[in-house]
Each structure stands twice: as structure tokens, then as C-alpha cells.
């Protein structure tokens, strides 16, 4: 990997490197968003003992392409009375933060588009835009279901942003940096060096990971917290009025956000590109860890029924926030004791 990096930086100037990363990132997000839909459908099938898509291509592998062609060939309807600028802009506003945030994720030892010192902060800054996109999409649709969904997404994301940020503050305290590459480097060595297993810093580290994971599910509006598009109550929630590729972009953005969330969880807790046994390149291990997390997201979706809305808020305010506050205090106390 080192010589690839060296030769790239020697041959190509910085702008070209950025273009290369931009193209790579776009295709990575696009392909993943398309094929995570396939994974989701296959997974859903297997969990219910069905085969899932089988007809288009081998094992249904061309299904996402067929879906994309279908969505693209559909008319993009902008209903009368909607705020058409916001209506058209909302899907883009949802997709672009996820793509931008991926720029600071270190996929391998030298594989990050931008290794900036406040990478973690940047991800959370962009991550909040995602909420606004759904809210704008729902609000501009001028549809009662969409507006209910918009109201829900705001209260849900406000409720879950708090424990998530508390957990992230804990992690920043433990690692002492917001640079994602640096965070990964600190977890070098065998798997017990991963932040997930650092119980000597914080005995509740696995719980911290669990809170982060639950919040990630809620922030990406995944089941069992998919209140925004609870199809049995709200048709398709904020996406009700969207057709064709407008809906398609929302749909892809949902998976792009899951990808981002799982990548971030991998970096923060599971050692990023660090290999647990010392063989194979880092990119491989990063992807393995990330896809395991993504699989668990699908697994959870097809296991648990949707929570009720007050249950969702109660979980955050009564359990997650107190526990994450407790871990924060515990961590600071432990660190004070260890330093002293």
C-alpha cells in the first residue's frame, strides 16, 4: 500500500488525487447504496426463509440495476402546491452530506481522501444536515403524512443526537483526538487494543458501543426506529410525494447513511483498518468489519417490530442519555485516576 501511495503522490499533484478520490467515493457510495438494497432484500428473504430476488441475473445480482432503470425511467412528478425548490433540493441535501462525510473516513492506512484534524466533528456537523433534508422533504411536500413524518424525524433525531454525542465525547476523551486516522492508529495491535475492548479505561466500553450503535440506527431512521417512514401509519412518510429518481436518491441516501454510520462505528470502536491477526491489507479488514455491522443492521431490521413513538423517546431520555452520561463521568473519573 505504501508504494502505491508514494507513487500516486509522486506522479500526480494534489488536485488530481482529489479528483481520483472524488470519483472513487462517488462510485463506492453509489455501488454500495445499490447493492445494499440487494443485501437487504436477500437478507430479508433468508430471515423469512425465502430466497429473495432470484430472477434478474445470477442470484438476483442485477436486481438493483433493474430497479435503478425502472426508477430513472419514471416521471419525476412535482405535485401542485409544493415548494418546488425545497422539494427538488431535499434528496440532494440528504445524499451529499453522507458522501462528504466519507471523505474523512480512513479506509486503509493511507486511504483517506482528506485526513483532517477535526474529522469526527465534521462528520457530526454534516450528519445533522441529513435530518434537515428529511424535514424539508416532508415539509415541502404539502402532504399530511409527510408533515407528520417531518415532525417525527426532528424529535427523534434531537432525542438521539444527545446520547450519540455524549458517547462520542467519551471516545474523544479516551483517544484525545478528533482525527479519525489518529484514532485508528491508537488501536494498533491485536483486537484487545480496539476501543471496544478498552475496559481498563472505561469498564462500560461495550455498553458505550451499544449506545452508539442504537443511536446510529435511530439517526439513520432504520428499523426498529423507522418512525419517519412507518409505512403502516404514514404511507412512506416524508417520501410519500416523491416519485422516480427523487425517491431513488432518498432511498440510496438511507443506505449511504447506514454505510457512513457503520464505517464510523468501525473506526471509533472496532479498530478501523487495523488487522486483528496481522495478515491481509487494512482495507480488507475495514470492509469486513463494516459489512458485518451492516449485516447486523439488516438483521435487526428483520427481527424487531417497530417501536411506538413514545417508546422510542422514552428509550432515549430514560435509558440512553442517563447511561451515556454515566459512562462519560465514569470515563473521566477513571482517566483522572489512571493519570494520577
Amino acid at each position: 500500500m505504501q508504494w502505491v501511495h508514494n507513487s500516486i503522490s509522486a506522479l500526480w499533484p494534489e488536485p488530481l488525487r482529489l479528483v481520483l478520490f472524488l470519483v472513487g467515493m462517488l462510485s463506492f457510495v453509489g455501488l454500495n447504496a445499490a447493492y445494499l438494497v440487494w443485501v437487504e432484500r436477500k437478507g430479508a428473504g433468508r430471515f423469512q426463509r425465502r430466497p429473495g430476488p432470484t430472477e434478474v441475473g445470477w442470484a438476483g445480482l442485477l436486481q438493483p440495476i433493474a430497479d435503478a432503470i425502472k426508477l430513472m425511467s419514471k416521471q419525476l412528478i412535482v405535485p401542485a402546491g409544493v415548494d418546488s425548490t425545497l422539494f427538488r433540493g431535499a434528496p440532494l441535501l440528504m445524499m451529499s452530506p453522507a458522501m462528504m462525510s466519507l471523505a474523512v473516513i480512513p479506509f486503509g492506512e493511507h486511504l483517506a481522501a482528506r485526513n483532517i484534524n477535526v474529522g469526527l466533528l465534521m462528520i457530526f456537523a454534516f450528519g445533522s444536515i441529513n435530518v434537515m433534508a428529511i424535514m424539508l422533504g416532508g415539509w415541502s411536500s404539502r402532504n399530511k403524512y409527510a408533515i407528520i413524518s417531518a415532525a417525527r424525524v426532528v424529535s427523534q433525531n434531537v432525542a438521539y443526537e444527545i446520547p450519540m454525542l455524549l458517547v462520542v465525547i467519551t471516545m474523544i476523551m479516551v483517544t484525545g483526538t478528533m482525527n479519525l486516522d489518529e484514532i485508528v492508529r491508537q488501536q494498533a495491535g491485536a483486537f484487545w487494543h480496539w476501543n471496544f475492548f478498552k475496559v481498563w479505561v472505561n469498564p462500560l466500553m461495550p455498553v458505550t458501543f451499544l449506545i452508539f450503535y442504537i443511536c446510529m440506527l435511530a439517526e439513520t431512521n432504520r428499523a426498529p426506529f423507522d418512525m419517519t417512514e412507518a409505512e403502516s401509519e404514514l404511507v412512506a412518510g416524508a417520501y410519500t410525494e416523491y416519485s422516480g429518481m427523487g425517491f431513488g436518491v432518498f432511498f440510496m441516501a438511507e443506505y449511504a447513511n447506514i454505510l457512513l454510520g457503520c464505517a464510523l462505528a468501525t473506526v471509533l470502536f472496532l479498530g478501523g483498518w487495523q488487522s486483528p491477526i496481522g495478515i491481509l491489507p487494512g482495507v480488507f479488514w475495514f470492509l469486513v468489519k463494516m459489512y458485518c455491522l451492516i449485516f447486523s443492521v439488516v438483521w435487526i431490521r428483520w427481527t424487531f417490530p417497530r417501536t411506538q413513538f413514545y417508546g422510542l423517546l422514552n428509550l432515549s431520555w430514560e435509558i440512553l442519555i442517563p447511561v451515556s452520561l454515566f459512562t462519560l463521568i465514569l470515563t473521566s473519573a477513571m482517566m483522572k485516576l489512571l493519570r494520577a
Binding site: R46, F47, Q48, R49, R50, P51, T54, W299, W302, T303
Partner: protein
């Protein structure tokens, strides 16, 4: 405090149990029958539309057009025509029209038949966009089956098989297995 911790623990435990169960299902084989490519074997007592039974000795229909079924039918969907063929002792059926659009599958015709000359078929792939497809000549169907079987066997000898498998077309014989290989659903017989 203690209670809420206990609540969290039991709740978490139940979530883990649920996830273990779904993961167990994930690795079990699928149970789907991929219908257009595969089809299920119909149970022996499946009530499809009626069909004529072949006499295993002669290879012809047992029916001799006594018209008891025609009279027994409450919805008047059976029309039987028969004629006394030259050299034969009994009359034999020449046309057996079943109007399946009117049939309610009550089975009175099968009950009324004294010679066991009609029974329920196992056909169920009967979808069609054409109403005429459901007015079927069962006699012609029987003859076509015989010709088809002869064509496949390469000789007219193939008639002298067991009574059940003989009457079914080679197509339906294949579908007697649990699931069959790729094969489009047969269109309703004319």
C-alpha cells in the same frame, strides 16, 4: 434504580433471544416453491375440473355417453354426445363438452357416474385471458393426451401402463414429483 436496571437487563436479554432466533432461521434452507419454474404436487384428492377416465384395456374412454352426469349437473355445464360405432357393443362418447365457466366443482357428476368414467383432474394452471378456453371438450383432451403419449413413446404400445399414470399426460407425470424443473405453466387445454 434497581428495578430499572433489572428491566434493562431483561429487555436486552429478550432482544438477544429474538436475534438468535432470526439468525437461526437465516441459515435454514428456504421453503419457497419458485412457482413458474417449479410447482407443487397436487394431493391425490385435489378437485380440479373433471376429466374422462381411460379404460386400461382398450385405451379408449370408459364413458359410453349415458348422460347421467349431464342430468346430475346442477349448473348445466356438461353436454355429452355419443354414437354407436360400427362393430362395438356399447355406445361410446364422441364429444364431452364441459363449460368450466359455469362449473362450481360440486362433484355431482362424479358421484352420478356408475362406471367410474369421470374423475377430478389435477390441473390447476388454468389461467387464461380468453373465456373460450374454459369451454373444453374432454373427449378431445383425452384423445390429444393419447396422441401425445404415443408420440413421445414412439409407439402406440405405451397405452398399456398402469391406469393412473397412463391417463395423465407426460407433462403432468413430471409434475407428480415434489417439484419439477423449469417449465412454463401449461395453458388451459382447448
Amino acid at each position: 434504580m434497581k428495578n430499572s436496571l433489572k428491566e434493562i437487563a431483561t429487555g436486552f436479554n429478550s432482544l438477544v433471544t429474538g436475534m438468535r432466533i432470526t439468525l437461526g432461521q437465516f441459515f435454514k434452507p428456504t421453503v419457497t416453491v419458485r412457482y413458474p419454474h417449479e410447482s407443487l404436487k397436487m394431493p391425490e384428492r385435489f378437485r380440479g375440473h373433471i376429466e374422462l377416465v381411460r379404460d386400461p384395456e382398450t385405451g379408449k374412454a370408459i364413458c359410453f355417453a349415458c348422460k347421467l352426469c349431464e342430468r346430475a349437473c346442477p349448473s348445466d355445464c356438461i353436454t355429452v354426445e355419443g354414437a354407436k360405432l360400427e362393430g362395438a357393443k356399447k355406445r361410446s362418447v364422441t364429444q364431452y363438452m364441459l363449460d368450466f365457466t359455469k362449473c362450481s366443482l360440486c362433484g355431482s357428476c362424479v358421484e352420478a357416474c356408475r362406471d367410474g368414467a369421470i374423475r377430478y383432474s389435477h390441473d390447476y394452471n388454468l389461467a387464461s385471458t380468453n373465456k373460450e378456453d374454459y369451454i373444453m371438450d374432454l373427449f378431445k383432451r383425452l384423445e390429444n393426451e393419447r396422441l401425445e403419449a404415443e408420440r413421445l413413446a414412439g409407439s402406440p404400445k405405451s397405452e398399456a401402463q398402469g391406469p393412473r399414470s397412463e391417463v395423465q399426460s407426460p407433462k403432468s407425470e413430471v409434475s407428480k414429483q415434489e417439484t419439477t424443473a423449469a417449465e412454463p405453466p401449461p395453458t388451459p387445454n382447448s
